[in-house]
């Protein structure tokens, strides 16, 4: 191996680690809502990816209405998505949840099935609604940093946008971790996640606690949606592809841990980028799924499961 080969191998790996990590922060954001929903409510939200796309569309629509930088779109989209999540859980998903089905005397198996069907239906409705309201053309949210990059060397650079999003993601995840551990409602969310039958004995209204958890899940999905909109193009039917990313991160990182989501996201990102570099763009997804399969085979509960 010549020095030049070594140099390019080094550059490839450095680029994989760097770009993959950046990608991972945003993957963590994409997945944390899914993990929170399942960890707390035992709800597998099959519409999770579609809500990300909804947030991207809302951000894109608002961005065209104001002269402000698209970065400001986090400000309305995150609280809006929180409200959507709260309302959806409180007055809709709570009625079809595992717990609600058990209250009606249905078996747990049926109980798990019911929210799956409902969120699968929601996913279809959202995608069709987006297609009806907008169109099937790919959109993006053009912004001043779309093509900006920091050069770290002659052959190594990092996208400024990705770098900003990585730090935003880490900040949001740290905030979420602190929130879950230090606030009253955060403790209630963890309590309801540990033992939903006993949480009411603490005076905790689980319907409200679940709704807040779901609000947080969609709020973070909202932030991820804005990031998607600003860093790539999106279409009405892109939701499921993000749902798959989210499943992958949850499998790798394990449920019930914010740290797991971040590490899972970063690992998935790095493997995808390296696989893409060495075996071509088609190998990106294959590499990601290989990692998921390996984790499932050797650590089926994920690397950071509680």
């Amino acid at each position: 191996m010549t020095n030049e080969d070594l140099y390019y191998t080094f550059i490839d790996i450095a680029n994989g680690l760097l770009t993959g990590s950046m990608l991972g922060g945003y993957y963590a954001m994409v997945s944390i809502g899914l993990a929170l929903n399942f960890g707390v409510m035992r709800l597998v939200n099959l519409a999770h990816g579609d809500w990300l796309i909804v947030a991207a569309y809302i951000a894109a629509a608002l961005a065209t209405l104001t002269p402000l930088s698209p970065f400001w779109m986090f400000v309305p989209v995150v609280p809006l998505m929180f409200v959507v999540g709260y309302v959806l859980q409180r007055w809709f998903l709570n009625r079809v949840s595992v717990q609600a089905m058990e209250r009606r005397g249905m078996s747990t198996n049926f109980g798990l099935m019911s929210p799956l069907l409902v969120t699968f239906g929601t996913s279809i409705v959202i995608a069709q609604a987006l297609l009806g309201i907008f169109d099937s053309n790919a959109r993006g949210i053009p912004n001043e940093l779309s093509f900006a990059a920091i050069r770290l060397g002659e052959d190594l650079s990092v996208s400024v946008l990705r770098l900003i999003f990585f730090f935003v993601a880490v900040a949001i995840l740290i905030f979420l971790h602190q929130f879950l551990h230090r606030s009253h409602i955060g403790r209630a969310i963890r309590a309801a996640s540990d033992d939903s039958e006993i949480a009411p004995l603490m005076g905790m209204p689980t319907a409200h606690v679940y709704a807040v958890a779901s609000g947080i899940a969609l709020g973070i999905a909202g932030a991820a949606g804005v990031m998607i909109g600003m860093s790539r193009t999106f279409q009405p039917f892109d939701g499921p592809q993000f749902l798959l990313v989210a499943f992958g991160v949850v499998i790798i990182g394990g449920l019930g841990s914010v740290k797991g989501s971040l590490v899972g996201g970063v690992l998935l990102g790095i493997v995808q980028v390296l696989a893409g570099t060495y075996f071509g763009p088609a190998a990106q997804q294959v590499g990601g799924y290989m990692l998921i399969l390996l984790v499932l085979a050797f650590r089926p509960k994920g690397l950071f499961s509680a």
Binding site: R103, H184, R190, P205
Partner: protein, 262 residues
């Protein structure tokens, strides 16, 4: 210890309770799991600051009775109750569990049911979730630590790594964090070492002296009788014997417990 801790607005000192206004009155209470009836037409009352021991074999309906008081049997077609539960004039049977806790009733569930991934302190703070409990929450936490000094030393330990006795202390402390006037304890000593049980009973005495009424489910007959103001024996979902420990003979209680109809 025990000065002015956990005193509730209407609590009275045990020495001064001649009137014994019923704090809790259960009238004609039946509970069902689906079609299956688990308790039949139960009537009983507990006075302010009183300790009621409920004894009975496994499956006699003791836990179901407690769950019914806490509104945990109102689960649509899966489980429901009939009859009334009145606490200080409020119909608890029409309220949800959260509202019942807010009214001043707390429960230590069977098997303790702590939040296993949380620390001692987080478990205790969970007990103070209600808005009315958040004022003075830290002071109440110190009071619980005063009752159970061992918990103060281990406040940051994850509860699943603790012994059964320590977990029971956390469970009792967690229930006390909501400043209840009535504390229900399901299986106070089950599966615990005798020395630990002694400790826990001493603390129960402290709690009782602060004016908190208790309903205790206990398998240990001697302890149940020693601590109680009133005893009731359940058999196959009904109360078959009740009275003060002094007024009942051991033979009577054993006959009721085993249903041998002496």
């Amino acid at each position: 210890m025990a000065e002015a801790i956990f005193t509730t607005s209407t609590a009275t000192a045990p020495s001064a309770r001649p009137a014994k206004a019923p704090l809790l009155r259960i009238g004609g209470l039946s509970a069902f799991y689906g079609e299956l009836r688990a308790i039949y037409d139960v009537n009983l009352s507990v006075g302010e600051g009183e300790i009621l021991s409920v004894i009975g074999a496994n499956g006699a309906g003791k836990s179901t009775l407690m769950k019914s008081v806490m509104g945990m049997m109102n689960r649509g077609s899966a489980a429901h109750t009939r009859g009334e539960v009145v606490f200080r004039g409020t119909r608890l049977d029409r309220l949800g569990t959260e509202a019942i806790v807010d009214a001043g009733v707390a429960m230590v569930p069977e098997g303790r049911r702590l939040f296993p991934r949380m620390s001692v302190e987080d478990n205790l703070l969970c007990g103070a979730w209600l808005p009315r409990c958040r004022v003075g929450m830290r002071a109440r936490l110190d009071e619980v630590y005063a009752l159970f000094p061992r918990l103060a030393e281990r406040r940051s330990q994850i509860v699943s790594q603790m012994s059964g006795g320590e977990q029971q202390m956390v469970a009792i402390g967690r229930a006390l964090m909501s400043s209840p006037s009535l504390l229900l304890i399901d299986e106070l000593s089950l599966g615990l070492a005798p020395a630990v049980v002694d400790d826990i009973y001493r603390t129960l005495d402290d709690i009782h002296r602060q004016g908190v009424a208790c309903i205790v489910i206990e398998q240990d007959l001697a302890r149940a009788l020693a601590v109680a103001d009133q005893v009731c024996v359940m058999l196959e979902g009904s109360i078959v014997l009740e009275g003060s420990p002094q007024s009942l003979t051991r033979t009577q209680i054993e006959a009721a417990y085993f249903g041998t109809g002496a």
